[in-house]
């Protein structure tokens, strides 16, 4: 596929016909669907001709932390990065189905991607502060939208740093480079940067994989504090982390034709203590993966 093709074709519209609705209902529980902030229905994703994710139905409950776990290559990052359309930049990527946030279909052609990304923040695997000052990092998203009076800007920046439990450590050097911070501090700065634009959803793509255990626990503490005010979705390789921090857990696995599929989803306690699917049990008890 050439670039011209992928540019001119709306990414959300799939040229491959979607399979007819699954004969048996997907592993979605009805209670979650009722309280969902964000819902995926019949989600598919392709990289070129390769089907990477097949028919995922998932509901993310408002204010909850949902963990997506599964072995490498099961499509969990693809699912996460499709929500805020970060995969649009990849040549040949296409998504089908729907992802609905408060009634708006994020995959549809009428979705304003720029505006949507202010509602859906993201934390990446490696801390990625901009090579500017701590203050400018947090103010970045606010300044994109337009000018704010300086006192108001300062207030929002400090509030965001406070919510990310970083304010006390940096308030004396707000105008020093962000690159002078430790890895854990940098990741909390990135969280503050995301929080500054007041998103309703935060996506986290293995946010602790580059951090030491102490910095990891601090991020997890913050996630718990944000519970209720922000809907959080975390992709993690670390099953203990999913068990510690999440309200609900979704387990994905590579299925037929190396396409990722959702195996089961439910309250974290149930998925870990009493999995419905044999494959989930095998993965959680460490029999593979």
């Amino acid at each position: 596929m050439t670039i011209a093709d992928s540019r001119t074709r709306p990414l959300a519209l799939s040229p491959v016909p979607l399979p007819s609705p699954a004969p048996e209902p997907g592993p979605t529980d009805l209670a979650a669907a009722a309280e969902a902030k964000l819902s995926m229905r019949g989600f598919h994703a392709w990289y070129g001709d390769h089907l990477a994710v097949r028919n995922v139905d998932l509901d993310f409950v408002a204010g909850d932390i949902t963990a997506i776990i599964g072995p490498s290559g099961c499509g969990k990052s693809t699912v996460l990065r499709s929500i805020n359309r970060m995969n649009d930049m990849i040549d040949g990527f296409r998504a089908g189905g729907s992802i609905v946030l408060d009634g708006d279909d994020l995959l549809g052609p009428q979705c304003d991607v720029i505006a949507m990304r202010r509602r859906v923040g993201m934390l990446f695997q490696r801390p990625n502060p901009f090579p500017t000052s701590i203050f400018d990092n947090v103010a970045y998203g606010l300044r994109l939208a337009g000018r704010l009076p300086k006192p108001r800007l300062t207030e929002i920046v400090e509030n965001a740093l406070d919510r990310a439990a970083l304010l006390d450590e940096v308030k004396d050097r707000m105008h020093k480079s962000a690159l002078g911070l430790s890895g854990g501090q940098q990741q909390r700065l990135c969280l503050a940067r995301a929080l500054a634009v007041d998103p309703q959803v935060i996506l986290m793509d293995e946010p602790c994989s580059a951090l030491d255990p102490i910095a990891t626990l601090r991020i997890e503490d913050l996630m718990r504090e944000l519970r209720g005010s922000v809907t959080q979705i975390i992709v993690t390789h670390n099953m203990q982390q999913a068990a510690r921090v999440s309200d609900r857990t979704a387990f994905m696995l590579m299925g037929e034709g190396r396409a990722g599929e959702l195996v089961e989803v439910g309250p974290t306690i149930e998925v870990f203590r009493n999995p419905r699917d044999r494959r989930t049990e095998d993965y959680i008890t460490g029999r593979f993966g």
Partner: protein, 292 residues
Amino acid sequence: MTRRLRIQDRIAIGALRGMVVVLLALLVWMVVFLLVQGWSELTRLAFYSSPPNIAGPGSGVGPQLFNTVYVLVLSMLFTVPLGLAGGIYFAEYAGTGRFTNLLRRASETLATLPSIVVGLFGYALFVQATHSHPSRLAAALSLTVINLPYMVRVSEDALRALPEGLREGSLALGATRSQTIARVLLPAAMPALITGVILAAGRVFGEAAAILFTGSNFALTAHSNYSLSPLDSGDTLAVDLYVFRTQAEPSAVPDARQYADGVAALLIVVVLLFNVGARALGRVAVRRGRHK
């Protein structure tokens, strides 16, 4: 066995050291030779203040020194924005299609053109086709043709070398691609860009062939050309060196050789000062960027 390896290792290191010494010796010998040869001119005050005169003795470099800097600045005014735009296009917008390949091939071909060919092309396009005479503007444009591919390449490489996380981090906060480029990527790439601009500018000092037809007046007019008009002609130091070593009548200009030696020494000194000064400027810019 290990003994043999150790001896091999010593020989290799010795050979490398020897080559470095030869290289350094060559460089030092050249610089010292030029400075010694040109010393009498470098220390003559009138050398800096007088205008050049191909028809008589006692020439100076005043106007050419001024003109060299003028043409350098003028050509960078074209090269930097155009080269930056090209680099941004290749690094951020162009994909891997056939059209992009064609563009890239064209840019690389441009980079390998001999500068004398660019000079003739510049003469045909900027001088003849516009029914004008050689001028600083035509010279600066020809130099831009020479430096543009290099500037495009440097800008593209500087942007590509940035971690992908910067790009994604900005986009994920709701920035457009152009906002991402202007507010995050270009500032982050600034140190590499400054180095690239310095090296491109340095090439202007040494370039004679491209200016010979497009901007030179062959030191024929005795007027001291300190004018500010881009449409006036004027020699740069490198062109002046060529003109006096090839065009001066020995009977009329007995000191042509001596004068040319002075120009060569001055070129070395200016290039050296320029590189050192510009690098210091780059360091300051980087430091300020970091602490801002």
